[in-house]
Subunit: 338 residues, 2 copies
């Protein structure tokens, strides 16, 4: 596409992003192209509309980017917006003061992301195929009731009440926990499975069985931690003035399964993914764009971070800030040995 067409498309996207009002040839002329006449701009706009990048709400309204228009913009025209120091500092600060466990971290990251992008955010916890067990602990609740505490990588605590077939005192449990730690702590989950296979019948095997059950749930991702935040930011946008639109988006966000699917799509894909309007698999995200990236403390452990907003979002700002948050969170997680 000729340079001038590109420039005009870029200008339309930028203008519409901030004003939320269809942009006309006159506005473009006075604000972006003073040495062009509005008539010339009009003919370029008509061309861009023919190419499918722009559309008009009605015959005599200004132009609005189509989904393809946004697509062209993010693919070819967008340059990352520098992040103000204030915002950088804010991100650093929020991430550094986050709790040291994955759950707290993910929640904080989602909150921060929503705050700095002024949109809704989603975040899934970094997760790998084989979980590592850092520590096991057993607490006696009743003679035949044991609380199993499992510390996984990411300082992720998991607990489960286990009703055992035989009674055990706390002292016995403490000894047993020590034995379990010696054999499986610091190892990947398959170690626990191996020990389970070879263990003789008894309390130890019983508890190992439950350890494996917890690991299974965790590794299968059926309990994959996915949080979202910042829906309030969407309410400010004119696109979401009637709350039925919000309702649809909220449904998607609360439907954890859908988000998990988004996650799986991304893993293995390029590291930044932008899904615009009708490109979304869910029709409830019509008019919405989703910007996704992966993050995590290592290559093995990856989660997804995403921003959800109207297609009329400030893509260059969103992408820059999303990546900044992802970088901060990844660094911090690596630092914590998560």
């Amino acid at each position: 596409m000729e340079n001038r067409k590109q420039a005009i498309l870029r200008a339309v996207v930028q203008e519409f992003t901030t004003s939320a009002v269809p942009v006309g040839s006159q506005a473009l002329q006075t604000r972006y192209f003073v040495n062009l006449s509005s008539a010339t701009i009009r003919s370029e706009l008509a061309d861009l509309a023919d190419l499918g990048y722009l559309t008009q709400p009605h015959t005599s309204a200004g132009r609005v980017p189509t989904d393809s228009g946004y697509r062209y913009f993010v693919d070819f025209l967008m340059d990352l917006e520098p992040i103000p120091d204030r915002v950088k500092a804010y991100i650093q600060d929020e991430v550094r003061t986050a709790p040291a466990d994955v759950e707290g971290m993910v929640e904080r990251v989602a909150m921060t992301l929503a705050e700095v992008t002024r949109n809704a955010s989603v975040a899934s916890a970094p997760q790998g195929a084989l979980a590592r067990i850092k520590h096991v602990d057993l607490v006696s609740l009743e003679p035949k009731e044991v609380l199993l505490i499992l510390l996984l990588e990411g300082n992720l605590l998991r607990q489960q009440v286990v009703n055992t077939t035989q009674p055990a005192t706390q002292a016995q449990l403490t000894r047993l926990a020590a034995r379990l730690n010696a054999s499986i702590a610091g190892r990947a989950s398959d170690e626990a499975r191996r020990h389970y296979e070879s263990a003789p019948l008894g309390l130890e095997k019983e508890l190992l069985g439950r350890v494996i059950a917890v690991l299974d749930v965790y590794e299968k991702g059926s309990e994959n931690l996915v949080v979202h935040d910042g829906v309030r930011n969407l309410l400010r946008q004119p696109e979401f003035a009637e709350s039925s639109r919000v309702h649809q988006v909220l449904e998607v966000l609360e439907e954890t399964r859908y988000l998990t699917v988004l996650l799986r799509q991304l893993i293995g894909d390029s590291d930044l993914q932008i899904v615009i309007g009708s490109e979304n698999t869910s029709s409830r995200l019509q008019g919405c764009a989703v910007v996704l990236t992966s993050y995590g403390p290592s290559e093995r452990l990856k989660g997804v971070l995403g921003v959800v907003g109207p297609t009329r979002m400030a893509y260059s700002q969103t992408v820059a800030r999303l990546q900044a948050v992802a970088r901060s969170a990844s660094d911090r997680m690596a630092e914590l040995g998560v």
Copy 2:
């Protein structure tokens, strides 16, 4: 007030609750009072309006209950609606299958409450003045970095990364944990404080200090767990058609401090509290009603459960279901020895 006036007020509230449309004398006559003429009903309606219980959006519209009207209704006219078996079973089921720790429990309870009342819900974790420590565990992360794991009443796990002044091996930490458990596990938090005072300088005192810090945060309630759910239910109501109304409510719900205040108000008060429209301290809850009750495993440990919806809510149903959820949750928590 005469019986007939009461009956008419009740009918107006009931009718408006379901239809969301101002109710006129004719509708009342055909649906509730076939042997009265609409003229008679009109004069009663006029009286009720004079008394401040009803109002009209405009001269020739039907009547709508005022906040005082709702107040009179819930104070004198409401009788609890029986809960269908299906709903009862649902509540039981959700609560029974909830995680065995307080956090998971509270989240599940909020979800269930939102679901069965078709409104937004809030829940705070049961909390008492003196926390009990069930178990302490120490995990070595780095030579001079320890993960302190604290199991409090309610199977509430708290963790904190502690940077110690002196290095310690996992074996040393395990021994130390055993000693700490012997001295403070199963006791109230003041025991930990006493031990801290009398402990000689060293790793043990250092870690006890952190234990106390964690307890402090917990007991001060500055980290009091408050969750909310079901905002999507509000979006269905005509009162929240323009999303700016939702925005205000969301602000309140996300403002944990405000909810904590609500909680404190309720503690020591009667066991059911209904706050209607302008009775709310926050003007952002104009047009909203909040129904609150306390719950918890014991007299000492109490949290708050609440429903937030438009003032035009089905109070009798809401109250009945709220109490049912509170009862189920309390029972389950007591059963788990939370």
